[in-house]
């Protein structure tokens, strides 16, 4: 990528030349920017980058050429990893073409600690000394354990690992997208459209690998390339209209496999777990993991319709798509006995076909009365060969078990019928009612069929000083049949809340009040309340989302206007569960527990526009603040804490003030306790002064304050090692990902020239 100085040179040239010409319209903005307290690097949030030094912030130029030809050229933030540029042109009434380039960063973490070193693409190694240290912490021979792994407050492993070769790595990806397209309108009644998009994502993502006992996180490389091509044509003439299209997509991953050092590979080939006495097998030196498989998709669609007399209209469409994947198997794993598990397949491929058929008839023959009736069928057919595998391995470190399994048919389809009627009793008012039914049919879900019935009403009204839009509906979901012995409330089976019996009440309303031309105030309410009546003992019982908000714009004078908004969101879900043994008979009431997870978000927005000196000096300010907080309240059974069937083990360090990580939560027997909260706050305040020197030339000064902080009990506790996570996995290696936080200040001065 070019440096910002090089791009500034281009930008300067771009400015200099059009300034001398009269043909160009548009504007160009160049300037200089400086950021402070941006954190480790120049990333501001997940998707933003603050350029430092000179830069071209925006450009939007247009040329109207002879014979109805035209051209546009634009760019934003050249020289940064958020830059974009485009070029468009065409001839009015005949054709348009377009080309574009866009970049988008996705920053997950910067300077993240990891013990792994990527020696080759996709190959991750651990220093031998680190592995030896881990082993000597837990055992010195095949039988003798030197440190009890479940001792509360045990920090031996942490101490041993803390100083050993931590490396720093940036977590995140950079997406680069090139687009091109052509639209031809030269043929009467016909529009042809061609689009191509090339999308490349490079970087890495935090990835865990599990060997049956050990979890190891590392920064798996990403090298994704996607080619998308789309072509379609529309025809409209009089009452008839039609369209036809096709899509082609090809995805490839430049990293086919990942090979990761087994952190617990023993010099001595075996040892026993100090708690359970279970025998560890750690033969695998390297653990293998397949990455996202290369795949492709092809689809086509047709649609058409006719406008009939008396405002009736019929529309039908059919869309068909096919997805395919093929990948090699044998190189995919280092699991011992792997060859025995593959069922003799060297490669596998998978294919799924989808289709969507729709038919809609609608009309408003009398003006005050209208209707629509529609039918839809979405179908997914799993065309994958019925692979069969005789053995299953839990990971690299344990022998496979005789667990015959194979690919299962994931086919399903859904038929939907919807009818709607509305009438307009007076000008500006519309009342509607609708009912719909969806019937889903599954090949491989616990419920073979699921029926959704939805009925609702709508109200829309536009009156002299206010308008109202409101809707209310109720959903009733009924799984018509579960496979024998597999109902949501039978021990050992999940509740599968996307299939379980459900009732829902859904509402939304917007009231906009405009008493004068200077003031507009809107009030919003929306929500869904779900109940799952088949889950009295296990699973999700109910969930709810509610949103309430208001916003306003007010023009105090011709030169000064205010705007503001506040939205409160409430999202909660309640579930219940209990420890179950391998058979339902082992369930104990004392092992019951319940959870209520709740998120609340407050969002504020405020701003003003002020023409301080009309035609000369403008001042604008925009303030955004969002505070999200989530918590989980648990209620546990009398035997749950520290009991056999709970993972709240005595061996866990539950001292929240512990200097070593992670620390846990204090829990009380048989009483509710609050899991630590997730809190994140985003504060953005941009204030800009713009002074117009001439009609063409203006200068701006932008002050941009942005603050972000996050508290997340599941992430904050992590470091590059995690000891005593629980008795079953007391030697995990995580990445030391710290939630990003910053208190950034950005100052930008720029000059804008309008042609």
């Amino acid at each position: 990528m070019m440096t910002s100085k090089q791009l500034f040179g281009i930008a300067f040239a771009l400015v200099a030349l059009p300034v001398c010409a009269q043909a160009v319209q548009g504007q160009i903005e160049v300037g200089v920017s400086r950021g402070y307290d941006l954190g480790n690097k120049d990333a501001l949030g997940k998707y933003e980058n603050v350029p430092t030094g000179p830069g071209l912030y925006s450009m939007d130029l247009r040329w109207d050429l002879p014979s109805n030809y035209w051209m546009e050229m634009g760019a934003t933030d050249l020289g940064t990893n958020t830059q974009s540029a485009w070029l468009r042109g065409g001839k009015r009434g005949d054709f348009k073409w377009r080309m574009g380039w866009d970049e988008l960063p996705y920053v997950v973490g910067q300077n993240v600690d990891t013990h792994y070193v990527e020696t080759n693409p996709g190959v991750f190694r651990l220093p031998d000394a680190l592995r030896s240290s881990m082993q000597s912490t837990y055992w010195t021979s095949t039988t003798a354990v030197t440190v009890a792994a479940n001792t509360p407050g045990n920090v031996a492993l942490g101490t041993a690992l803390a100083g050993l070769f931590p490396n720093k790595v940036d977590l995140g990806t950079q997406r680069r997208t090139a687009t091109g397209g052509l639209e031809i309108t030269a043929i009467d009644h016909v529009t042809l459209n061609l689009d191509y998009r090339y999308d490349r994502r490079e970087g890495n993502q935090i990835t865990p690998i599990y060997d049956g006992t050990t979890i190891a996180q590392f920064a798996a490389p990403i090298d994704y390339k996607t080619h998308n091509f789309n072509m379609n044509a529309q025809y409209a003439n009089g009452r008839w209209f039609a369209e036809v299209g096709m899509d082609l997509s090809r995805f490839t991953d430049g990293v086919e496999r990942l090979y990761v050092d087994n952190p617990m590979r023993l010099t001595n080939v075996s040892a026993t777990n100090p708690t359970t006495g279970a025998y560890y097998q750690q033969q695998a030196a390297v653990m293998g993991m397949p990455t996202a498989p290369d795949n492709s998709a092809f689809g086509w669609n047709v649609a058409g319709g006719v406008n009939l007399p008396l405002h009736h209209r019929v529309v039908a469409s059919y869309t068909s798509s096919s997805m395919e994947m093929e990948t090699g198997l044998m190189a995919g794993s280092t699991i011992p006995y792997y060859a025995d598990q593959t069922g003799g397949y060297n490669t596998i491929n998978a294919r799924m076909d989808t289709s969507l058929t729709t038919l809609k008839v609608m009309g408003d023959p009398m003006g005050w009365l209208g209707y629509s009736v529609s039918y839809r069928r979405y179908e997914l057919k799993d065309k994958t060969f019925e692979y069969y595998f005789p053995l299953r391995g839990r990971g690299d470190s344990t022998a496979p078990t005789a667990d015959p399994h194979g690919h299962e048919d994931e086919s399903w389809k859904k038929d939907s019928v919807k009818a709607e009627v509305h009438f307009k009793p007076m000008r500006g008012m519309r009342l509607g009612a609708f009912v719909s039914q969806d019937n889903a049919d599954y090949k491989n879900r616990f419920a073979e069929e699921v029926k959704d019935t939805i009925a609702g009403v709508t109200f829309d009204g536009t009156f002299k000083s206010f308008s109202v839009r409101a809707a209310y509906s109720e959903l009733s979901r009924t799984p018509s049949k579960f496979e024998e012995g597999e109902t949501p409330d039978v021990a050992g089976v999940g509740s599968f809340n996307d299939q379980a019996r459900r009732t829902a009440k859904i509402y939304n309303a917007v009231l906009t009040y405009m008493p004068t031309d200077d003031l507009a105030v809107s009030f919003t309410a929306a929500g869904v309340k779900n109940t799952f009546p088949d889950a009295p003992l296990h699973g999700l019982q109910d969930s709810r989302t509610d949103t309430y908000g208001m916003d306003f714009t007010y023009s105090l004078t011709d030169r000064f206007s205010l705007n503001g908004a506040y939205v409160y969101e409430y999202i909660d879900s309640r579930m219940i569960s209990q420890y179950l043994g391998t058979t339902a008979s082992t369930a104990l009431a004392a092992d019951k527990w319940a959870n209520k997870s709740r998120d609340q978000v407050d969002t504020f927005k405020a701003g003003f526009r002020w023409q301080v000196i009309p035609g000369k000096l403008d001042l604008t300010s925009d303030f955004d603040y969002s505070q999200g907080r989530g918590d989980s309240v648990y209620t546990v059974g009398s035997l749950a804490v520290g009991a056999t069937h709970s993972w709240q083990s005595a061996g866990y360090n539950s001292d929240p003030n512990a200097t070593t990580k992670p620390y846990g939560f204090n829990m009380a027997n048989a009483g509710p306790f609050l899991n630590q909260e997730v809190v994140n706050r985003i504060f953005i305040w941009k204030t800009q002064a713009t002074y117009r020197f001439t009609k063409q030339l203006s200068g701006s000064l932008l002050l941009w304050l942005q603050r972000y902080d996050k508290k997340d009990w599941a992430q904050d506790a992590m470091s590059t090692y995690t000891y005593l996570v629980d008795p079953g996995a007391n030697k995990s290696i995580f990445m030391g990902r710290i939630n990003p936080a910053y208190d950034a200040k950005v100052i930008r001065a720029s000059v804008s020239y309008r042609f």
Partner: protein, 283 residues
């Protein structure tokens, strides 16, 4: 500077130079507009800055023949005006020309049927420079003026890059309607997501059924306070369905099922696996 950068710069400069020296388009001389300007100068000036000004019909393309209106000394009843018209009736004028491309299915669409018409979002006579598609506000601002809850959701910590200007509502939805649910551009929610997340498309040897059916079973595309746009924090999200024997039904707050990536610490291939022992999504 790299060779590619030099080539890019030379091409850009050449293009700029060539275009910058091209004569300005001849002044607009459409029949009718000049006459309209005699009384409606400001409106016509705004109109002239828009692509519609290149239409041969000019003002009369939408307002109809103005002869009687002019002869009547500006009699408003003698010309087609849009003020006070129901949205669907006002839209009918626009759809005479804009009946193809993305607008094919506008009649009877979700917006049209609720009296959200063309001029609700588009301004035919905008002040200042004509914005793209003549939108009356920037798109994100425009859509969220009604869908306020979506504006709030997109301010959450986990969000699509919309407030940064890298996506907009029309990246996923066609506000003019189509035959798909929620006016999605693709035929299903998942197909929409695969357009950018093709690595999740598979298909896989072992599929996670709720994932294959609908990404929104676990993710809130409009924003979440949890990582990866998850609707509920791990491990509760998984436990709301998976309450089977042993560890799925156990309480997890201080263990490997809850820290880091929660359940995905051991089941990272939750979107599907191509591994022969991947039916539990371990590899």
């Amino acid at each position: 500077m790299t060779k590619r950068a030099w080539v890019l710069m030379a091409a850009t400069l050449g293009l700029t130079l060539g275009l910058a020296t091209t004569p300005v388009r001849a002044a607009e001389g459409k029949t009718g507009a000049a006459q309209c300007a005699e009384c409606h100068q400001e409106t016509v000036d705004r109109f002239r800055a828009t692509p519609h000004s290149h239409s041969a019909a000019a003002c009369q393309g939408c307002h109809g023949d103005a002869t009687a209106h002019i002869a009547g000394g500006g009699d408003k009843s003698k010309i087609h005006t849009f003020k006070g018209l129901p949205a669907s009736e006002a839209s009918a004028t626009c759809l005479k020309c804009h009946e193809k491309a993305g607008q094919t299915h506008f009649k009877g669409s979700a917006h049209d049927s609720r009296e959200v018409g063309c001029v609700t979002c588009h301004d035919v006579h905008p002040k200042g420079a004509a914005p793209k598609a003549l939108l009356s506000k920037p798109q994100f601002e425009l859509c969220t003026s009604c869908h306020l809850q979506k504006k709030a959701a997109l301010m959450r910590s986990g969000h699509m890059p919309m407030r940064e200007g890298k996506m907009n509502c029309t990246s996923c939805h066609n506000p003019h309607g189509n035959t798909h649910e929620k006016q999605l551009i693709q035929a299903s929610v998942n197909a929409n997501c695969y357009a950018c997340h093709a690595e999740k498309r598979g298909p896989f040897l072992f599929e996670h059924a709720p994932v294959r059916e609908n990404c929104l079973n676990c993710h809130d595309a409009h924003g979440s306070i949890h990582d990866n746009l998850l609707k509920v924090k791990q491990p509760i999200l998984c436990q709301q369905c998976h309450i089977g024997t042993r560890h799925p039904g156990q309480l997890h707050v201080n263990d490997r099922y809850s820290f880091g990536q929660g359940c995905l610490n051991c089941h990272p291939k939750i979107h599907g696996s191509t591994h022969p022992t991947g039916n539990r999504f371990w590899r």
